[in-house]
């Protein structure tokens, strides 16, 4: 069975068997590195990709149903030379530890921010509630998204908001 879809803007054609999920196609056939395989039950969010603007678990999408659609993975945001500001925000706040859930987290954050550029804290938590992380307690990842939103907002970039995130960790006692 032939499948044609757009992966990160590039048209891709591959030969799949009908019962393959999009995750299997991305991992076993196309060797996409950023999409992670973990729970296969649509509950951990590590395999989150953006399909036509919506964040979805690629382990619950039958590959045959994405014919002609636009699938975006973390590789579409930018590489280490020229990073997307959202990636830079996660880097600067030291938001991740083991980094296994990072790609899924950033894709969910991007999908959330594409629809709602200035979310409140509650909306950020609600938008990222489909991504599980065991290392960070979600403190710094949420900080990173808030710092990105602050940096992107139209009002003059609030320098001390981004600095506060850095200073908070360094000041002895690190109290937020």
């Amino acid at each position: 069975m032939k499948l044609t879809f757009f992966l990160n803007g590039r048209e891709v054609t591959c030969d799949i068997s009908p019962e393959m999920t999009l995750l299997t196609v991305l991992k076993e056939l196309l060797h996409v590195n950023s999409v992670k395989r973990a729970c296969l039950q649509g509950e951990c969010g590590a395999c989150t990709v953006i399909v036509d603007g919506d964040a979805m678990n690629s382990c619950l999408i039958l590959a045959a149903t994405v014919g002609g659609k636009h699938v975006e993975t973390l590789e579409s945001l930018g590489d280490s030379q020229h990073m997307h500001p959202l990636q830079k925000a996660f880097l600067d706040t030291g938001a991740f530890q083991c980094g296994f859930c990072t790609p899924g987290f950033i894709m969910s954050a991007k999908a959330l921010l594409d629809k709602n550029p200035h979310p409140t804290e509650e909306e950020i938590r609600y938008g990222l509630s489909g991504n599980l992380c065991r290392c960070t307690g979600y403190v710094k990842p949420l900080e990173a998204v808030k710092a990105y939103v602050a940096a992107q907002s139209d009002i003059k970039v609030n320098e001390d908001a981004v600095q506060a995130v850095k200073a908070a960790a360094e000041q002895m006692g690190g109290a937020h």
Binding site: T93, N131, L132, R134, G137, V139, G174
Partner: protein, 343 residues
């Protein structure tokens, strides 16, 4: 009706494995441009051990961290390490690394002494230079010393370090030294208990870890955040055998086939469950540890559960002595209390 409560808890933790030798070894090589290669058998599972080792080496040689590269966890290319467990990597790995760095420094100092016509003991390292204590004019960049040692003195600036943490298995009466250092942690939890449904929500939690010396502060704070949320998960609902914790014998509802098989039934906390976590660290500076550092990883998961149970008592006046404090147990305890007061 939502009732508020606050609870506190403290904890001790003994570093390193108590009753077995658990050494760590490190190889360090300085190249002629002053950059450093480290090989260690440690495994970085996300706690930031690699970054901490690079920072310690950079501090020792007073060179930028970017010039230090570490390769870990490969039995054919890295020297032995016991394993990433019982909070030992920063302490034991750090000491092993610094022993190896000291060997490299001795080689560099002897080469610099020959170049500067002074004695190796008079040299000290500062700002990327080897300087003479008594004659400020005599100074040599570190990379120059490395090049001279390698190509002129025919001595490769490399070193191997190991560190066996001192431990004597303790006997029945407590005599012995089960651990080389101890670190501490405390947390205060604010909870809200809905006394109609028994649901406990942690609103805010402050937790401070005694890490001796914070090598990488944001990593220490990160470890404290993650450990606190794991402790909250343990306290409120994570259970592989539901209904198995019952003080007087197995619970009537216990059924071994109730084991959760997916992440919906095993309630790992999500972003909506995570409270306001304020993680902090205090520095008690243990001279035994590398630069006074102890550890930060494991202890943060231990005090959240007792602090939450104490807070539940403060809120609704019931003692939950069987973890997890599920809504079922909290509501049962509240009903019993109401009956006792009512009767």
């Amino acid at each position: 009706m939502i009732r508020k409560g606050r609870g506190i808890a403290g904890c001790l933790y003994s570093l390193t494995v108590p009753n077995a030798p658990n050494p760590c070894t490190a190889n360090v090589l300085m190249r002629e441009d002053g950059s450093v290669n480290i090989q260690m058998g440690i495994v970085d599972i996300g706690q930031g051990a690699q970054t901490a080792m690079c920072m310690m080496a950079a501090e020792f040689f007073t060179i930028p961290v970017e010039k230090v590269r570490i390769y870990t966890a490969d039995t054919h290319a890295t020297p032995y390490d016991f394993g990433t467990l019982s909070s030992r990597l920063t302490f034991v790995g750090g000491r092993a690394l610094l022993n190896a760095c000291q060997q490299v420094m001795d080689v560099l100092k002897s080469a610099a002494a020959m170049q500067l016509h002074t004695l190796p003991e008079r040299l000290y390292c500062e700002g990327g230079f080897l300087k003479d204590k008594y004659d400020p004019a005599k100074m040599l960049p570190i990379q120059a010393a490395a090049a001279i040692s390698q190509f002129v003195c025919r001595k490769m600036p490399m070193g191997q370090g190991e560190y066996y943490p001192f431990n004597v298995p303790a006997d029945e009466n407590g005599c012995g030294e089960p651990s080389v250092s101890y670190y501490y942690h405390a947390s205060v939890a604010d909870v809200e208990v809905d006394d109609e449904t028994g649901v406990v929500t942690v609103k805010e939690i402050w937790s401070a870890v005694d890490c001796g010396k914070a090598i990488n502060p944001s990593a220490v704070v990160g470890q404290c955040d993650g450990g606190t949320l794991q402790g909250i998960g343990w306290a409120l609902g994570e259970d592989m055998y539901p209904y198995c914790t019952h003080n007087d014998g197995p619970a009537p509802e216990f059924d071994p086939d109730f084991r959760p098989r997916n992440l919906s039934d095993y309630p790992l906390p999500t972003t909506m469950d995570a409270p306001e976590i304020h993680s902090m660290f205090v520095e008690s500076h243990d001279g035994e540890g590398p630069y006074g550092a102890k550890a930060a990883g494991e202890i943060c998961a231990n005090t959240a559960a007792p602090a939450i149970v104490n807070a539940i008592h403060d809120a609704v006046g019931v003692w939950i002595t069987e973890l997890p404090a599920t809504p079922d147990k909290v509501l049962r305890a509240i009903r019993e209390k109401q009956e006792k007061e009512g009767a």
